[in-house]
Amino acid sequence: MKIAILALLAPSLGLLALSFFLPYPRASFPAYLPPGPGHPLGTDDAGYDVLSLLAYGARTTLGVGFLAGSLATFLGAGIGGSAGLWSRLEAPLMRLTDLFFAFPRLPLLILMSLYLRPDPLNAVLVLALFGWPDTARTLRPLVAGLRQAGYVRVARSLGAGGVYLLTQHVLPQAWPLVATQWILEVRFALMAGAGLAFLGLTDPTQPDWGVMLFQAFNRTETFLGPYWIWTVLPPALALASLVLGLSLAVLGRPRQLDPRLGG
């Protein structure tokens, strides 16, 4: 299973590395050149070299995905953790999480596009905003369970403060699970990020896999000739392989807390 995951993550990382060797994509070639010498993946509708677009696209897509995923995990762990630890906080924080779950994402997405200029930084904020409730909801019950665990009560009786408990006892114990959530959040951010781009809610001049798919989709020629083979497949497969790799990576990891932890 490990090799499969690595094999699936390889193309994205390879592209990321390649981006440091290729020139920044410029629309300086004839449009729709099929894959061949000079352009291993041909050129797209506006004459950009698909390979360099894909490589530089990896920077934005992976950047936004991993950043948003990490931010979401951080927020989720923080809120979920504290909701689990301090019973007073539990009700308000979980109400907040419910609100985020209840509020439909589509309209919020559109609203964001009105307020925020569509650049990668805003995309990270928006995606993290959508991602954290899932981690909060997963972590809270587990942390609450930990709270009852013997040694945590002992530490508390010795005067250990809440924050100390959270950082010293709870999170280190829950760490393998937080890591799982991190992978899930990154996976969500990647998919949703590409989705944002496809809806035209991100900066289309910033090379990005979702934008490549969006541009290809917007062009009628994509459906008329064989162009989709080198304008649609590369970004889609690059994204799919990365997301698939992350999905498989999650499977092997612990989803519930180790029972020995008195969870």
Binding site: R26, A27, A31, D45, A46, G47, S113, L114, R117, P118, D119, G200, D203, P204, T205, F214, Q215, N218, T220, E221, F223, L224
Partner: protein, 514 residues
């Protein structure tokens, strides 16, 4: 197999004009009622042109009498007398009379928000009189020769006996809101999907060629044409060429559309407030490459004067700002900009940063190319893409430096310079425009037009980039022959379209000869 079958049926029925449906690919423009101020004027106008009539209409070349049979101006052009066509009936059978015309224009005068051009009616029209049931007299406060085409060619005449009872026409939902005089009646409107129009058998100008006309929203017109899901669509030439030579399909010659993409400067902000700076940037943008990369060659470079070559007031020989980076850098040098390696330093020695706003995702490609051109000169360009509403807000408030967007209406001049009026004020332009509007002798008009275009080319508040080429592809059914209406459907530089209703009726007697 399906397409062959569809084609065979078309052939069989073409001759007799039996019960037949013709499907046009057309964007959904909302409820086909006569009044839709906020809705995109173009598509809504095209859809409703089949249901309602105007006093004047246009054939392939020029304005023609329509509901108004003939008209006469008085000497000083402050009075216009029209005699109306007789025997015309509304879809509900009631006769069309002068009272309908009087009511319509008095309504527009009272409620200018009902239609784009209604402000001209409010400003210029003093009174509308009906000496007899088929004669109308417009009395103007000030002479306005262009009124015929700009207003009478545009405003749809509505039945007085229906709208007279409506106190708030803008949101009126009564079923009789669809009553018009046009060649087709509204049979069904399925929101976001199609309009179903049924032929009006006793249309005054001729028998409609098909019994049912469907205007359908389609995602991909080329595929829809191939699979017979629509009978007609307008396409860029590169997509239309696969249909030329195919039996059963007809194509109109490629036509530069009255839409144009343009690059606008904020003349109230440094550094774009300097005329030479704007001209330098104009020389720095490679418009030929833009057409090649974005439209695969399907476009023509637009004239800096802001008018479409087909416009009667178009003036040739204006400086064309052809791509000339050296000239651009020379102009910038004269302003004190120095080139240092790959970067261009402004007179104070700082790097020159420019912000470029781009409206809508479909302009993103063009924006990126312009950004590359300007960066070629050493400028640092930060590009942002905005949706329509936020973009218009920013433009009207002047919170921008450079803007890239597209719109139509290049057949005619505008009241204010073709630019967010709130930012670029040019008294000389307004003076010339007034002369142009109120000139009585055609010669004066042409001269004024020439001066306006010269001024715009020199001052360059905005650099028109290109007009996209469009071409109609349609099935040969029921003898329908589409054509490009020069000047746009509604005469005043209205919506550029191949769907002129004349193509869908058998001309009757003297009214309209093909």
């Amino acid at each position: 197999m399906k397409r062959l079958f569809g084609w065979l049926i078309g052939l069989l029925l073409a001759g007799q004009g039996l019960a037949q449906t013709y499907i046009l690919a057309q964007m959904d423009a909302g409820d086909p009622n006569p009044f839709a101020p906020l809705r995109q004027a173009g598509p809504h106008w095209v859809v409703t042109s089949f249901v309602y009539d105007t006093l004047l209409w246009r054939d392939a070349q020029k304005p023609i009498p329509w509901l108004a049979e003939s008209w006469r101006w008085n000497a000083d052009k402050t009075e216009l007398r029209l005699s109306l066509r007789k025997g015309v009936r509304w879809h509900d059978g009631k006769p069309f009379t002068a009272e309908d015309v009087r009511f319509t224009f008095e309504l527009l005068k009272a409620r200018p928000e009902l239609s784009n051009q209604a402000n001209l009616v409010k400003d210029y029209v003093e009174r509308v009189e009906t000496p007899d049931p088929y004669a109308v007299v417009f009395r103007f406060r000030r002479p306005v020769p262009d009124f015929l085409e700009q207003v009478l060619g545009w405003e749809k005449v509505v039945p007085a006996h229906i709208w007279g009872k409506v106190d708030n026409p803008l949101g009126y939902q009564g079923p009789d809101r669809y009553v018009g005089t046009g060649p087709f009646q509204v049979r069904e409107y399925r929101r976001g999907e199609y309009y179903l129009f049924e032929a009006n058998p006793d249309y005054f100008a001729g028998q409609p060629r098909v019994t049912q006309l469907v205007l359908r929203e389609v995602a991909n017109p080329v595929l829809a044409l191939r699979q017979g899901e629509v009978d007609a669509a307008s396409l860029p030439p590169r997509l239309a060429k696969e249909f030329s030579g195919q039996t059963g399909f007809l194509l109109t010659p490629p036509q530069p559309s009255y839409f144009y993409t343009k690059f606008t400067f904020n003349t109230a902000r440094t550094p774009t407030n300097r005329r030479e700076f704007r001209q330098a940037l104009a020389y720095g943008i490679n418009r030929e490459r833009l057409i090649q990369q974005v439209l695969q060659g399907d476009g023509i470079v637009a004239s800096p004067g802001g008018l479409h070559p087909e416009s009667p007031w178009f003036v040739k020989g204006l400086p064309s700002y052809a791509y000339n980076p050296e000239r651009a850098l020379a102009l910038l040098a004269r302003l004190g900009y120095r080139r240092q390696g790959a970067r261009l330093l402004d007179p104070q020695g700082r790097e020159t940063f420019l912000s470029l706003l781009c409206r809508g995702q479909d302009n993103a490609r063009g924006c990126a190319l312009v950004k590359e051109d300007l960066e070629g000169l050493g400028l640092r360009v930060e590009l942002k893409v905005l949706e329509t509403a936020p973009m218009e807000e920013v433009l009207s408030k002047g919170e921008f430096l450079l803007a890239y967007y597209a719109h139509g209406g290049t057949f005619n001049f505008f009241q204010n310079p073709d630019f967010p009026a709130s930012v670029y004020k040019n008294p000389r332009y307004n003076e010339l425009y007034r002369v142009f509007i109120e000139a009585k002798i055609p010669g004066d008009r042409l001269r004024a037009a020439g001066e306006i275009q010269g001024l715009l080319t020199e001052e360059l508040p905005a650099l028109p980039l290109y007009h996209p080429l469009v071409q109609a592809v349609y099935r040969d059914k029921a003898g329908i022959r589409l054509f490009w209406t020069r000047g746009g459907l509604a005469g005043r530089g209205g919506p550029p379209s191949f769907y002129n209703k004349l193509a869908f009726i058998e001309p009757k007697g003297e009214v309209y000869r093909r």
